[in-house]
Symmetry: C2
Amino acid sequence: MTFELTILGSSSAVPTSKRNLTAHVLNAHERFFLIDCGEGTQIQIRKNKIRFGKIDHIFISHLHGDHIFGLFGLISTFNLLKRDKDLHIYSHSELENILNKHLEYFERNISYKIIYHHLNPKISEMIYEDRKIIVETIPLKHRVPTCGFKFTEKQHLRNLKKNVVNDFKIPISKIQGIKEGNDFINDNSEIILNSSLTLPPYKVRSYAYCTDTAYSEKIIPIIENVDLLFHEATFCKKLKQQAKLTFHSTSEDAAKIAYQAKVKKLIIGHFSARYKDVTPLLDEARAIFQNTFSAEDGETHIIELSRED
Amino acid sequence: MTFELTILGSSSAVPTSKRNLTAHVLNAHERFFLIDCGEGTQIQIRKNKIRFGKIDHIFISHLHGDHIFGLFGLISTFNLLKRDKDLHIYSHSELENILNKHLEYFERNISYKIIYHHLNPKISEMIYEDRKIIVETIPLKHRVPTCGFKFTEKQHLRNLKKNVVNDFKIPISKIQGIKEGNDFINDNSEIILNSSLTLPPYKVRSYAYCTDTAYSEKIIPIIENVDLLFHEATFCKKLKQQAKLTFHSTSEDAAKIAYQAKVKKLIIGHFSARYKDVTPLLDEARAIFQNTFSAEDGETHIIELSRED
């Protein structure tokens, strides 16, 4: 029941000696979702001991080079490793043309299928769903069409208390219903209340990824109450004008969004290469939203399980 | 008078957690020649504290992704840093089309000019010359048209011994001639032999870069006697067949070429990702050519100055 985020790259457009270009991996129940794929992502995947074969879904926020130039090498490596599983890419439709032209020249005989899912950056919609997880888009405000992504666990069932199946002689056919909240009527027609049989379910966990974007309060209803928010903070508050001009955010902007959306934890990143030390940005954000951390390449943020009340 | 090679990436097609994709930087008299540009090269340039602004010439051996996918990001970073100097790229002509299509989408307003130099992979020819250095191509034997590169210092002049200008009252107008080997005739018509006035010149230094390539004795006359040879050794000798099939070399192949070409020092690299430890490849090469080293990311090989006899 893992739900953890690993930062592969935390720099903005120009990498530094310590910060690679943007890429995150969310491990949600052993699905490894790759989010953006800046140059060097495949090398960071290796360094962080994530298995290439686990990555089946890649989510691309927008078509600026620092978020996609790692795709060329990753696609090629998958091919060299003789991947045969489908690879799903969720992005602006134009990426399909770009990659098709690229593949035509560089990877004529590709060993697997790429399935493109075109995003509509104007609305929030569900773009992925399986038994455990859903993924929705978050319309962001950047110079080109851009989507953030929200990853949410599906509602967990209640958990059976220890030994209740034996103690109350519950037939297997009834277990699913009890996990869903039903009481149990035994052979003597006695009603055993659900609360005697089960523990409350685990809380649903969620992660929202918002980059690149200017300050936009429109995203607040979508990301409200998430456990973990990544929000870009390319600039410190002094460079507010620069942020506005380039459709990026300041550390204060990120914290204001986190505060208003009542998220549990904020990570800021996508730092301009001018910041050798990001402590001032972190301090600025923490003045508004205390539970803020800076994105650091190779760091993993675990969202622990906890039960509903 | 620096002449030193820094290895930025030593892996073959698939990078590992320790080995980046192919790229070398030769610092020859403060000209920083970038040779190949695999994914992640700009990050390796940063990590190795090489200034982007020093790189004016990029030499591309062939158009396989592991040798060029770093160009997209590097070109973009140069643009973001508002480069205005021309950038020269030496490669197969097709790269110009690839980069033009790429620039059309990703970098419409580029702040500098890219000047393409198309290589003929069938012959060895001089492709670059300045006051100090010449660069020649080395036709290699790979699945696609491929060129190696030989970087050679121009002939050095003799050096004046200490104090001779004062001691013999040599006018400035005569100095160049004496450095070129002339004797000096003083005001009393005495002939001062050049050997009394000068030290022998420094030996010309040279570096040859040969990857990707199958074993090819045709390159021997071109690389004969170089101070430093980089020759690929993708496979160990046991995988000779695999090497033949893919037009790559084994560690033995590389060493045989080094031995026959009487080079001074050999570096092997472009290692298959299957080798966690390349010691066996190094041992195989050293059995044939003792002065062999393995390419290691971030290592610099200095070619020291020494005088002719």
